[in-house]
């Protein structure tokens, strides 16, 4: 069976909507099948691979750093990239450059590229299918 390539366009910033988790689950399933996955992160989604995110303790819950085990989305993105590589696929992640500049979100993890909506069109053209997950 020929290798599949899927493209996802996402727009939600981290920690705000269940869509983020669902899209990460979809990417994870595709990656574990050895598919190539393209991600075009638009608007607030450019913060998903932001390298400056840190986990934190939660004094209200009485949890220290380890007990809180706070999810950090740049680690999720990095883990998806690593898993894809292990399975012979890849996650090609492009952050919308203007969205990055507007938000000061330039310090992404290694492997994240800067691009434009034109790259999303190229992704879609080269993919077996594309899913756009809008915020509205």
């Amino acid at each position: 069976m020929a290798k599949k390539t899927l493209t996802f366009a996402i727009m939600d910033p981290p920690y705000e909507n269940a869509r983020t988790t669902t899209v990460m689950r979809l990417i994870d399933i595709a990656v574990r099948r050895g598919y190539d996955v393209n991600v075009f992160a638009y608007e607030g989604a450019v913060y998903l691979p932001f390298a400056k995110q840190t986990a934190h303790a939660n004094a209200v819950h009485g949890h220290d750093l380890g007990q809180e085990d706070h999810p950090v989305t740049h680690l999720w993105v990095g883990a998806l990239m690593a898993e894809a590589k292990k399975r012979g696929g890849k996650v090609d992640w492009i952050n919308c450059g203007l969205c990055v500049d507007e938000r000061g979100a330039g310090e992404s993890i290694e492997g994240v590229r800067r691009g434009s909506p034109g790259d999303f069109w190229k992704f879609a053209e080269a993919s077996d299918n594309t899913l756009v997950v809008g915020t509205r």
């Binding site: 899927l6 669902t22 689950r25 077996d128 299918n129």
Partner: protein
């Protein structure tokens, strides 16, 4: 005949446009297309018997396959025995299956 996957993530108790999306699914099926409506996140809430369940029954009667993400159901404490007959639980893998098969897929 085309094949469609319509993903509904919204709660019809909160968003009135969910009814329009159900209508789209029904309309596509009535025109002879193969349509799956996949419920995810708060979109699974009407899969539990409630005042909105009849709307899903009508969608199913139009020939639409209706699936509900098993993880979203579990997160909300909705067990399989509470689902309306029109809806079957399914893993999210179904969405990736359909994407890989080239189905026309939309998210709402």
């Amino acid at each position: 005949m085309a094949k469609y996957l319509l993903i509904e993530s919204r709660d019809p108790f909160e968003w009135n446009d969910v009814a329009s999306y159900y209508e789209l699914a029904s309309g596509l099926a009535k025109e002879g297309n193969e349509v799956t409506l996949f419920l995810v996140q708060n979109g699974v809430l009407p899969a539990r018997r409630s005042s909105t369940s009849d709307a899903l029954a009508r969608v199913a009667a139009a020939g639409v396959e209706i699936l509900a993400d098993d993880f979203s159901l579990k997160e909300r404490g909705i067990t399989a025995d509470r689902l309306v007959p029109a809806v079957r639980p399914a893993p999210l893998d179904v969405v990736v299956d359909h994407l890989a098969d080239g189905r026309k897929t939309m998210w709402h």
